[in-house]
């Protein structure tokens, strides 16, 4: 039987194999070139081999740092995740409050929407010096950068989602005697929280970007700080595992948000099936 390319579909095992292929190829290409370079110069630092990775990981993730007595990877991970969680938390609350308000209340929309639209056009990295000057070089300025970076997006996205809700539902709630507050609490919020989780997933990338940038410029610890510190020593054997670790953390956060939506909102799955 002849099939068009668009009608040829991989089976279950095929999907896994095809999905794994690019990973395997990337890893293989890396180690081939690493081996080639190391054969030429055993002290090459650019593409370290497995044994250097092992030693580096041992150094940062298992042994205690000689100077501080801390395990660097955990210290950095803890600091970065704390900043990220604070930044995302503040943004989520602000996004929810202002997003729902501008979506539901015409006067809030008239008063805030243009301001937020302009605010969201300010490149967050451009205000980083201002944040460092006003909030100092420690935790606060990093959290504020993340919040400034993603809050306007969250507000605008949520306001759009609220506006997308069929007007019939709001009218219906009014005919059931609901006040504005009750409509927000029982009709708008429950339907918007899963959208918020989706918006947050999209914000994870920018949030990490702002976090690592701020840490690279001024910090005493953190995943971004460590990578940029290691750059001075061309310590690719530390940088690459750190990048892989950050990627894994971001992936797990994304997955948790998706899981949250699937677990907490059975009506969503009912609607899509």
């Amino acid at each position: 039987m002849k099939h068009r390319l668009i009608n040829l579909k991989p089976g279950r095992g095929g999907k896994i194999a095809w999905g794994a292929l690019p990973f395997i190829v990337a890893v293989a290409v890396y180690f081939i070139f690493s081996a080639l370079r190391l054969a030429e110069n055993p002290n090459d630092k650019l593409l370290p081999g497995l044994s250097s990775f092992g030693a580096a990981i041992q150094r940062v993730a298992i042994d205690r740092d000689m100077r501080t007595g801390e395990i660097l990877l955990w210290l950095d991970t803890f600091s970065s995740l704390r900043r990220l969680a604070l930044g995302l938390g503040v943004s989520t609350i602000l996004g929810l409050v202002f997003g729902v308000a501008t979506g539901v209340i015409p006067y809030a929309r008239a008063g805030l929407a243009p301001f937020i639209a302009v605010l969201s056009m300010i490149p967050p990295m451009a205000v980083l010096p201002i944040l460092f000057i006003t909030f100092g070089l420690d935790e606060l300025s990093k959290v504020v950068l993340i919040a400034i970076g993603i809050t306007p997006f969250l507000i605008r996205d949520l306001a759009l989602r609220v506006a997308e809700m069929p007007g019939e539902l709001i009218i219906k709630a009014e005919t059931l005697g609901a006040s504005t507050w009750q409509i927000i609490l029982r009709v708008v919020l429950p339907q918007i929280v899963p959208r918020l989780a989706d918006s947050l997933r999209l914000s994870l990338g920018p949030a990490w970007l702002f976090l690592i940038s701020a840490e690279a410029i001024a910090a005493q610890d953190g995943l971004g700080y460590r990578i940029f510190l290691m750059r001075r020593y061309l310590a690719m054997d530390v940088i690459l595992p750190y990048v892989a670790w950050i990627t894994l953390l971001a992936f797990v956060m994304d997955w948790l948000l998706r899981l949250f939506n699937r677990r907490c909102f059975p009506w969503l799955t009912a609607a899509s099936s």
Partner: protein, 246 residues
């Protein structure tokens, strides 16, 4: 009691008159079906009854009082689509009206108050025949069942007027027939005044005690928006036993 008077009602949008000179006296407990060609203003009339819009001139009176300027629990509505809340199960959709009324702050009932509301809602769900689907989400229901739910949800607030905006337009013929029987039974039980917009003449004459047709009587070919539609036929139907046959 739910007597509706429409006094010299005009509805204009910029450059377009939609309704003009609508005068009506609707006695309590009648079943009124509004029909007419597309864009003839019957849906606009329903929106005015719901206070989704304000008339340009004239007024609608409910029991002698001018309608409040926004939708409220005295007038229930069932739309063709999006009438039920997708994030709530059938029972949650129905008790919602009671929760809005009895819990101003949270809009949610707990404990004994909730159990009482659930009892009331269960009776309401049973009367529209949705007992078996009590804990399902709207997305798991068929179109007809969703409209049954929308009606139950509306009736639990005991509105004076029940407004139906082409509620059965998207249903298949068999389901429609069941919905006619249900609607008629509930209308008789609740002694409620019903306004229903329909495209379907047969539906209109099956259900109504009074059929109101909307159309333009004056047409200016150079300016189609110059004149609006009004009620061109007002047909009271002697309908008592007609239902049993239908």
């Amino acid at each position: 009691m739910s007597h509706v008077s429409v006094r010299n009602l005009w509805m204009e949008y910029p450059g377009q008159v939609v309704l003009e000179r609508v005068n009506l006296e609707i006695p309590s407990g009648s079943f009124n079906v509004l029909i007419g060609p597309s864009g003839c203003g019957k849906t606009t009339f329903l929106r005015l009854l719901l206070s989704m819009e304000q008339p340009t001139k004239g007024a609608i009176l409910l029991d002698g009082q001018v309608l409040p300027p926004e939708p409220g629990p005295d007038r229930g509505i069932v739309f063709q689509r999006y009438s039920v809340f997708p994030h709530l199960t059938v029972i949650q959709n129905v008790i919602l009206g009671l929760e809005f009324a009895r819990s101003r702050g949270l809009g949610k009932l707990f404990g004994a108050a909730r159990r009482r509301a659930v009892e009331e809602a269960d009776r309401c769900i049973a009367s529209v025949g949705l007992d078996a689907a009590r804990d399902k989400y709207p997305a798991q229901l068929s179109g007809g069942m969703q409209q049954r739910l929308a009606i139950a949800q509306t009736l639990i607030r005991k509105p004076k007027l029940l407004l139906l905006d082409e509620p059965f337009g998207a249903l298949d013929p068999g389901t429609k027939q069941q919905m006619y029987e249900l609607t008629t039974r509930l209308w008789q039980e609740e002694k409620i005044t019903v306004f229903m917009v329909s495209h379907d003449l047969k539906e209109a004459f099956t259900l109504a005690t009074r059929v109101l047709t909307f159309d333009k009587v004056r047409i200016d070919p150079d300016a189609p928006g110059r004149y609006g539609a009004t009620i061109t036929f007002d047909l009271p139907l002697a309908k008592t036993a007609a239902f049993a046959e239908a």
